[in-house]
Amino acid sequence: MEKFVRLTAKACPLMIPNLNTDQILPARYLKWPRSRGLGAVVFHDFRLDAEGRPRAALPLNQDAYRDAKILLAGRNFGGGSSREAAVYALYDHGFRCVIASSFGDIFAQNAVKNGLLTAVAAEAEIAELAAAISADPAQTIDVDLERQTVSSGTWNCTFMIDPISRNQLLNGWDDVDLTDSYREQITAFRAKDKAVRPWVTPKTM
């Protein structure tokens, strides 16, 4: 997995609460293999109005934000469906970090497995940053995972992330490799548990 230590990039504001994974990636794109790339369809339906035209007022649809790697989002970002392809779509589009005041639990876990940082900051501070970016979309934002800070010029704030996700991102750990190093403990657990809870393994039919 790609490490995440520090990122300096442009940001795109999307300060709307409850943007669930159905909005990030509509279900009909879930059939697409990863190799096809999902960046082009991120927020597909959400970006359009009722007549199917791109919503011009939405920063996501504006050239100034095209190469943004940081997304500033509203409360409860990524709730709902467990579809990891929502993370693929954000990542394939170029996003490497989402800053929001809270995230859906499954989304946050999927994000870290793919090297996408979910930084939890105070809503008022994100709103402040979003306002500054709207005034000057060309400015770059610095996200430092070691220090857990977001800064832009003289402005800065701290963010939260659970230590497990932080460790994994900083080290670029691969879960399967890590788990393999505990093979003995797993085998011992399985043997002991089979005797205590024999019903766990169903009889084959």
């Binding site: 059939k31 409860n76 999927n110 497990i164 879960d175």
Partner: protein, 470 residues
């Protein structure tokens, strides 16, 4: 004396293999359900050149992409046909027991697992689907995971997790006639918010929960994720054991007795401390419908839609305005004045036999004013409903009686609500576009969907139940 522990703590400890310094625990997975959507994970495993660790603990169910009509024929849509075929190939290659498209036990994974007796108390259950929380109804620790985690479970039968906070939702008192588990779920979500249980595992407790059938408990635990909780659990009891008795994969005879002895200990200790406690009074719960685009936009059916001009918070006012605009509802409209275009009875939330009976009790001898689709939770339930004559009631009312699958809850098999149409639905998510681009969804109980069908608009089911056997 040892410290009093919650049920959540007990379930967690029983599966913890190791814990790292940063708090991450490696958990043993007892049961892994996979479906057509799990293809990313199978490819990840293949790319790494790895084999499945425990095929006998892994079960496949075809539900997300399967058609609900014309089961005898080949699947017309080539992309969907490829998804189903690919899944069958992955299951065969990895020696996974499959409840596939042609299997008489096929259905929705969260209905089939419990129905076949694969879901048992005390198990740690995962599946690449957020509604895996359903299985918590049995006192199992069950939660949804993403594709990378599915791949990890396939390869190792374990999972790295952060211990969640513990929340207890106590629903005391007795619900009034005509009030369903779905109403309890929506009332709870409206009370704590769509992200109210984020970071928490929920234990549901109290007299009203104990009084629920297993079907009712499954509906409630299913909706935990709509309150932001990855996992919801109910302590197993005699209702649980009676449901499990004699199901195909449940241990038999002395093995069953031994298991029940162990399962009976799965309860929170009297003085166990929760990180958060929420209490609701069941007697105050009335039939509930959603008006907006998240499940916490839920109100009693006799209420009016909100009015953004009356909201004091500007973010909230904006949200309400946009949600009402998407839903095509004028501010302050009486909810019972909202006309519906179609109805859907189905999904892992509300398509079990009890749900079909509740809807049929309202529909019997009446005609639906709008078209609608009924997709039973499993093929087994479909046969049972037909034996009971419920299919006749649905058909006579003018509704379509279809095969089992995720169907119009998520629409990936092509069962869609057309853009701009309004659907009264027994499903779990009223998100924008959930039932199809531009579709407008109102969530409610099966009986309330039936009430909307015969009325042609959102309606209180209670007057329609007068003099009927429930």
């Amino acid at each position: 004396m040892s410290e009093p522990r919650t049920l959540i703590d007990k379930l967690w400890s029983a599966h913890e293999i190791v814990r790292r310094d940063d708090g991450a625990a490696l958990l043993w997975v007892d049961r892994h359900y996979v479906h057509e959507g799990s293809f990313h994970a199978f490819s990840q495993m293949k790319t790494r050149g790895r084999a499945i660790a425990e095929p006998q603990l892994t079960f496949g169910v075809a539900d997300h992409y399967v058609p609900t009509r014309g089961r005898g024929n080949d699947i017309a849509n080539p992309e969907i046909a490829a998804m189903v075929r690919n899944f069958e190939a992955n299951a065969a290659e990895n020696h996974i027991t499959l409840f596939g498209l042609r299997d008489p036990r096929q259905g929705i994974v969260h209905v089939v697992g419990p129905e076949q007796g694969l879901t048992l108390p005390g198990l740690l259950i995962v599946c690449g689907d957020s509604h895996t929380s359903t299985h918590g109804a049995f006192g199992a620790y069950a939660f949804g995971i993403g594709a990378s985690e599915v791949a990890h479970v396939l390869m190792t039968q374990t999972l790295w997790q952060k211990r969640p906070k513990r929340m207890r939702i106590v629903v005391d008192g007795t619900t009034a006639p005509g009030i369903a588990s779905k109403d309890i779920a929506l009332a709870t979500i409206a009370h704590i918010g769509a992200d109210g249980a984020q970071g928490h595992a929920i234990e549901f407790a109290g007299r009203a929960i104990r009084a629920l059938t297993m079907e009712g408990r499954m509906t409630l635990c299913n909706m935990s994720i709509e309150a932001g909780g990855r996992c919801g659990v109910v302590a197993p009891d005699t209702t649980t054991f009676a449901y499990l008795n004699a199901r195909p994969y449940v241990p038999k005879g002395a093995d069953f007795d031994r298991a029940i002895e162990a399962w009976s200990k799965l309860a929170s200790d009297d003085d166990a401390v929760f990180d958060r406690e929420v209490t609701l009074d069941a007697s105050t719960i009335v039939p509930i419908v959603t008006w907006g685009t998240t499940p916490d936009d839920a109100l009693p059916v006799d209420a009016r839609a909100p009015d953004p001009s009356r909201e004091t918070d500007s973010t909230r006012a904006n949200y309400v305005r946009e949600a009402l605009d998407y839903m095509g509802i004028a501010p302050g409209t009486k909810l019972t004045d909202i006309a519906v275009d179609r109805v859907f009875i189905g999904s892992c939330t509300n398509a079990r036999i009890e749900d079909l009976r509740a809807a049929a009790a309202v529909l019997a001898g009446r005609v639906s004013k709008v078209p609608g689709l009924v997709s039973p939770g499993s093929s087994t339930i479909k046969r049972q409903a037909e034996d009971e004559g419920l299919d006749r009631i649905f058909r006579d009312a003018g509704l379509e009686w279809a095969d089992s699958g995720c169907s119009m809850c998520v629409g990936i098999n092509g069962d869609l609500v057309p853009s701009g149409e309004r659907c009264a639905s027994t499903t779990n998510r009223n998100f924008r576009g959930r039932q199809g681009p531009g579709a407008r969804t109102h969530l409610m109980s099966p009986a309330m969907v039936a009430a909307a069908a015969v009325s042609g608009h959102l309606a209180d089911v209670r007057p329609l139940l007068a003099g009927r056997k429930l």
